[in-house]
């Protein structure tokens, strides 16, 4: 699978090497390697139980790996966190009861060396209007935004978000990603876990698919789609033998659908050029991208079969 090792050799924001973690009988993370360059926005995509949260916990220094190493900006996770280079939005829980939103964030800011001003963090997270509310009275979406403000407080170079939009409705989710964009525009590195494919595709430069504790795909959303389902060229092509079409470069398979021929491609650009070159009579051409959902399911299914072998 393609990996964007863009200028990431030694200035890597995140470098995970051979991470393993077992909980009793469960081998939750089975050798994860990951390199993230500064400024990349990376989605960590995987079904529940794929090892996303465990990997994130190890990345943040909350859980110690059984083997393997974690480096954030070249240092171990705990010192990187203490230096305020990392902010994180953890999954679920995590809000202290009986305090107002502003008190909570002020208290949290007091535990950092160079915090972002509290009002700025609240503004970015869109929670200025609920500053005076008690934390236990917040809706799920509001609590998520408060957690986002907490993640912003260190004014971090790396933002780690574990399923940030869980419990958010569509509107809030859109607003959340808008404020995220505002923040990442300043060149920060972001790693977010999600099981929403659409979110991974829309907001990340790069998608890392995790399944059963291993990375099974790594690339842009488009690359991942192409690598599995690929693209499909659909055209009306008179007088063309299936075998000939099948031999075109970039074509994986051919199927017929009424008067149309479907060419399943792993490289649709190459296939299209060859098609027009050899069969100039082809007309009514359409190219459809593979569905990321299908790609994802196929990847996960394949990796599970391999894991059980």
């Amino acid at each position: 699978m393609t990996t964007n090792h863009i200028q990431a050799r030694d200035g890597a924001a995140v470098r995970l090497t051979g991470l393993h973690k077992r909980f009793g009988q469960v081998h939750a993370v089975r050798g994860v390697d990951l390199l993230i360059a500064p400024g990349e926005v990376v989605a960590f995509l995987g079904p529940n139980g794929a090892g996303k949260s465990t990997t994130i916990d190890m990345l943040l220094g909350l859980t110690r790996p059984d083997s393997g190493t974690v480096a954030l900006f070249g240092s171990a996770p705990v010192p990187a966190v203490q230096a305020g280079r990392v902010g994180a939005m953890l999954q679920a829980g995590a809000l202290l009861p009986d305090v107002t939103v502003r008190e909570l964030i002020t208290m949290f800011a007091g535990l950092h060396r160079h915090p972002m001003p509290v009002s700025r963090a609240m503004e970015l997270a869109g929670i200025t209007d609920i500053a005076g509310q008690k934390t236990q009275k917040l809706s799920g979406g509001q609590a998520q935004r408060v957690r986002f403000a907490l993640a912003l407080i260190p004014d971090p170079d790396l933002l780690v978000l574990d399923e940030p939009t869980a419990a958010m409705d569509v509107e809030v989710r859109r607003a959340f990603w808008a404020s995220m964009r505002e923040f990442t525009a300043t060149g920060r590195t972001v790693l977010f876990a999600t099981h929403y494919l659409e979110e991974a595709d829309q907001f990340a430069d790069r998608v890392v698919v995790l399944s059963a504790g291993v990375v099974v795909a790594d690339g842009t959303g488009a690359q991942i789609k192409a690598s599995v389902a690929g693209r499909t060229i659909s055209a009306v092509i008179e007088d063309a033998a299936d075998e000939e079409l099948d031999r075109l470069p970039g074509v994986l398979g051919v199927t017929l659908q009424a008067s149309r021929t479907l060419l399943h491609c792993n490289d649709s650009d190459l296939a299209l050029r060859a098609l027009l070159d050899r069969f100039p009579q082809a007309h009514d051409i359409e190219i459809a991208a593979g569905n990321l959902e299908d790609a994802f399911l196929e990847l996960v299914a394949t990796s599970r079969q391999e894991a059980t072998k």
């Binding site: 943040l60 220094g61 909350l62 859980t63 110690r64 966190v81 203490q82 230096a83 305020g84 990392v86 902010g87 994180a88 953890l90 679920a92 829980g93 995590a94 809000l95 202290l96 009861p97 009986d98 305090v99 002020t106 208290m107 949290f108 800011a109 007091g110 535990l111 950092h112 060396r113 160079h114 915090p115 509290v118 907490l150 260190p154």
Partner: protein
């Protein structure tokens, strides 16, 4: 103290620890049930006893009211210290502790801050019971004796603050309430804070003398009587602090590995 509350000032670890302790203390004082439990109960019991035993002296020569004042102040303070530490279990359960581990506050500073909170929240019970002693109870001491007794009892509470932390890290939200209640009442009764140890059967007298609560009251009464701090009390309380501290560090590490 007030400047330390502003997050922009004093960003060193010590400043951060103190700031966190003060903020947590403020939150602890918001809990009304907690104040009633640790202040009102010992205060009421003391006022009741003070009326019953006014003018009587103990076998040791100390007035019964002064004796009970130390007992009830210790009783209230132990409750405050243990219950505050135990609340850590709640913070752990909701995941707040994980969030705190993503700050610049190092683990040892967090533990220190929590212990400071436990020590600070004992002050209302201590001061109010002493105040009731000086006024309603008519306990007459020199300023130095008041101060000495107060400081002795307060410092003697260190092992109880540590005990609270141990319960907070060893317990879960469901078990922490009964555990801290049983420990609180158990230590108070066995340590002779409710009834004098001399009234116990011989076997229980032996048990009383291993409890930190017995030695806490012993320390307070000795200083109040002008006899200074007894070496025995100080040693037993220090030993409890060390043992509980070791268990506390272990429980803290274990809780970190689990979450």
């Amino acid at each position: 103290m007030t400047t330390a509350l502003s997050p922009t000032r004093s960003t060193g670890t010590v400043g951060m620890t103190i700031r966190y302790a003060l903020m947590s203390t403020r939150l602890a004082f918001r809990n009304l049930r907690f104040l009633v439990l640790t202040v009102a109960l010992p205060l009421l019991l003391f006022l009741l006893y003070a009326n019953l035993y006014r003018g009587q002296d103990t076998a040791g020569g100390l007035s019964v009211v002064a004796y009970l004042m130390v007992s009830m102040a210790s009783f209230g303070c132990i409750g405050a210290a243990i219950n505050t530490g135990a609340r850590i279990a709640v913070e752990r359960q909701v995941g707040w502790n994980r969030q705190l581990r993503l700050t610049a506050l190092p683990g040892p500073s967090y533990l220190t801050a929590k212990a400071i909170v436990s020590m600070l929240v004992t002050l209302p019970a201590l001061l109010l019971v002493f105040l009731a002693g000086a006024t309603v109870g008519d306990v007459q001491l020199s300023a130095g004796q008041w101060l000495g007794t107060g400081v002795a009892v307060w410092l003697g509470l260190i092992p109880f603050a540590v005990l609270g932390l141990v319960i907070g890290f060893a317990g879960t939200v469901d078990t922490v309430q009964p555990i801290s209640m049983i420990t609180y009442l158990g230590l108070s009764i066995l340590g002779g804070l409710w009834f004098p140890v001399e009234a116990f059967p011989t076997f229980l007298q032996g048990v009383a003398k291993v409890t930190p609560s017995y030695w806490l009251a012993d320390l307070g009464r000795s200083v109040l009587a002008g006899d200074g701090a007894p070496v025995n009390s100080v040693l037993v309380l220090a030993a409890w602090t060390l043992v509980l501290g070791a268990i506390g560090v272990w429980a803290y590490r274990r809780s970190g590995a689990k979450v």
